[in-house]
């Protein structure tokens, strides 16, 4: 029973895997099936490893929070299918603008998971450098809900001004993808991003993970209209997918990014998924949602579904064991390096407030250093 949060589920939701993991494409998925031809068994295995890795990482970070090592954690448990499929669909030249729960998108693009954890340990506001080629154009987390949607739209406007859209060269043409949630769809910024994206026909995919809860408020409070229909009012075509189906997330995102890169303008994907854990380590989902709802979504777990698919493809136990082992190694490494993180130098508080020299921050830094040193020794 999903009474608290039931949204009419249209018959045209794109789905490639059934809830129990059988490959049985929905009628609406026909136009996306060619994109599966880009994938081989190694890609499938990579998708699975990605999902298992981030779930184990996510558990480890949650443990670290409970042990007092992180101030806060934002779990992504349950949303791995939508995130892995969409991230794997992006090309190297694409730019990805996350909200703050897209841990595996960052990992796939090259972010050190300890960089993500560091943000929640209070050592940095941005745990990686999006200008570093090793980071794969994965931009910084944005905590003000929906703000990043406009940055992604502006960036896509810049790509278009630079002539990086519709050139016919698939290694040059680029697009942005912006991640946001069901709560963000109520924000003005997301709606203004739709307006600007439509007006300037940006090369851009709006990737909405509808995880059904904005902290404690159900999506039915955000919208009485299925969210994928909202964008069409702005002139941006929208499609709803089963977000716990990694293959659907991949194929649909790949097509829409392709369309964006070739100059067909922005589009929107609503991925139906579920946040199995709390919004953050600070809240208690048992206060606002039912066990039945949780059970409904647990039966549609993106990892279990994809495992059934892989098993049907003939993938053996050894692979799954090795994926688990790899994930455990990652978690152990993250734990070890997280505990070794040190507070940033005091001076860093004053640096980079501005790009150019600034007398006030310089004077305050000088004063504070003198003040600290007045206590002598290693104050």
């Amino acid at each position: 029973m999903v009474a608290t949060n039931e949204i009419p589920r249209p018959a045209n939701t794109v789905q490639l895997l059934t809830a129990d993991g059988r490959f049985q494409p929905s009628e609406t998925s026909a136009e996306y099936l060619p994109y599966l031809e880009n994938l081989d068994e190694n890609d499938y295995r990579t998708f699975y490893r990605d999902m298992v890795r981030v779930r184990r990482f996510d558990d480890e970070a949650a443990n670290l929070q409970r042990q007092g090592q992180l101030g806060l954690w934002v779990p992504s448990h349950g949303q791995e299918g939508a995130q892995v499929g969409s991230a794997r669909a992006a090309k190297p030249q694409d730019h990805l603008f996350p909200s703050y729960r897209e841990h595996v998108v960052g990992l796939i693009r090259g972010v050190d998971p300890v960089g993500i954890v560091g943000v929640f340990r209070g050592v940095a506001h941005g745990g990686w450098d999006p200008t570093d080629p090793a980071i794969g154009n994965f931009h910084l987390y944005t905590l003000v809900i929906g703000s990043q949607s406009l940055h992604a739209t502006g960036y896509a406007m810049g790509m278009k001004l630079d002539g990086k859209v519709g050139t016919g060269d698939p290694t040059q043409d680029a697009a942005t993808i912006v991640y946001f949630g069901d709560g963000a769809t109520s924000q003005g910024d997301v709606n203004e991003a739709y307006v600007f994206a439509a007006s300037y026909q940006t090369p851009q995919v709006f990737f909405l993970q509808n995880n059904h809860w904005a902290i404690s408020v159900p999506v039915s409070t955000q919208s009485r209209t299925p969210l994928y229909l909202r964008s069409s009012g702005f002139g941006i075509p929208g499609v709803q997918i089963d977000g716990n189906d990694v293959l659907a997330a991949y194929a649909v995102t790949a097509k829409h990014l392709d369309d964006a890169r070739t100059g067909e303008g922005p589009s929107m994907i609503e991925a139906l998924t579920y946040r199995m854990g709390a919004h953050t380590s600070s809240d208690d989902p048992s206060k606002y949602r039912s066990d039945d709802e949780l059970a409904y979504w647990a039966e549609r777990d993106p990892i279990l579904r994809f495992r059934v698919f892989l098993e049907e493809q003939g993938v053996g136990q050894a692979f799954f064991d090795s994926a688990d082992e790899e994930a455990a190694d990652l978690a152990a490494d993250v734990r070890k390096r997280t505990l070794a993180l040190t507070p940033p130098p005091v001076a860093s508080m004053f640096q980079h407030v501005y790009s150019e020299p600034h007398p006030v921050t310089e004077e305050q830094q000088r004063w504070f250093e003198e003040y600290e040193s007045s206590f002598g020794g290693d104050a």
Partner: protein, 444 residues
Amino acid sequence: MSEVRSEADYSEAEYVEAELIEGEPGSDADENEDQGGDESSPDAASSDSTSFDSADFDSTLLDTQAIDVVEIIESDPDARVLEEHVAEQEWTREFVIEDEPGEDPSPAPEATVDAPPEPRIQSLPMVKALNAGLRRALADDPRVLLMGEDIGPLGGVFRVTEGLQKEFGTQRVMDTPLAEAGIIGTAIGLAMRGYRPVLEIQFNGFVFPGFDQITTQLAKMTNRHSGKMAFPVVIRIPHGGHIGAVEHHQEAPEAYFAHTAGLRVVAPSTPHDAYWMIQEAIRSDDPVVFFEPMSRYWPKGEVDLVENGTPLHASRVVRTGTDATIVAWAGMVSVALRAAELAAEEGRSLEVIDLRSLSPVDYGPVIASVQKTGRLIVAQEAPGNVSVGSEVAATLAEKAFYSLEAPVLRVSGFDVPFPPANLEELYLPDADRILEAVDRALAY
């Protein structure tokens, strides 16, 4: 919101300019009917209004309108207001005639970007100085983009961007959807991509829909990226009162931005400064909030198109004196100078400093001045509570305590919402209010 804005177009000063430049007179009835459509009505758009066409120019119309405005002003009980507005009106007449092609042999300033400007010193109103500065920035750096509401064919509600879209194209000078958060937020993305967006906020009170993107995003972005990315975004905002406009159109919101780390805040008071400061702000790798005093948009001043003279963040003594120091910025500088003139008639010598940069503030000249005069009055249009003037007063109390012969006094707008235009000249500090504070300071 659009109804509110369109009413702005009927503030008398802007009304005069808009109508004159468009060459599109209207009967009183027309004006009222036009409220929903503003100047970008089909008629205006179809008249190729980006450049002034002498064939459309009707000097009798100008005179008629000038009289209309003077009559409006004459109904104002405050004689000084009349004087000011008539001065503006005279400028408007002169300006439009000068702009008419074929009658004025001297080249318009916008005709010279690459070649050395001729003549080097030009008498321009601030709107034209800003226009020339923006043109030069666009010509110098292909990464510079202009974005805003109505800045394209219309040239902005104050015509600051007039002709720039025609010259540089719709990709460099973009009319945006009517959404301030969208303008600021997309500019952040464009800056990430390497562009240098220059944004026009139509009126001061309309910046607040974009305030979140300015303060939580733009201001913190450099810091969040540990300096790996720069965010050279300029936000131009018309500032202050004296134009008789409706609510939200005449405010002085600089304190909100000066309070926010990561932003630079500047405000020119003269056409020369406007010409140079806008170019420096665009060259800055940091976000700059650029306040343009609307009361100074139309009076002409000399602009040296070759030599600047004062860096962006420097304050400057604009009149020397010995008895007391007046610090002002934006539209208050001319009021302070008038106060100084009146004081001089009474034998008092006031020094006037144009702060120019509100964040950071260049305190050197202010401290040096107070060390000389021993008395400081800070004059501002903004409400006094938690204002830039408060910060200047506190800082001088710390840094020049032993030089002060009297408490630092603030002359500010009142801590009330900006009043209806009929009361604005009572709300805004005038020369007399400054002189009253001078009297109090000298009484110590």
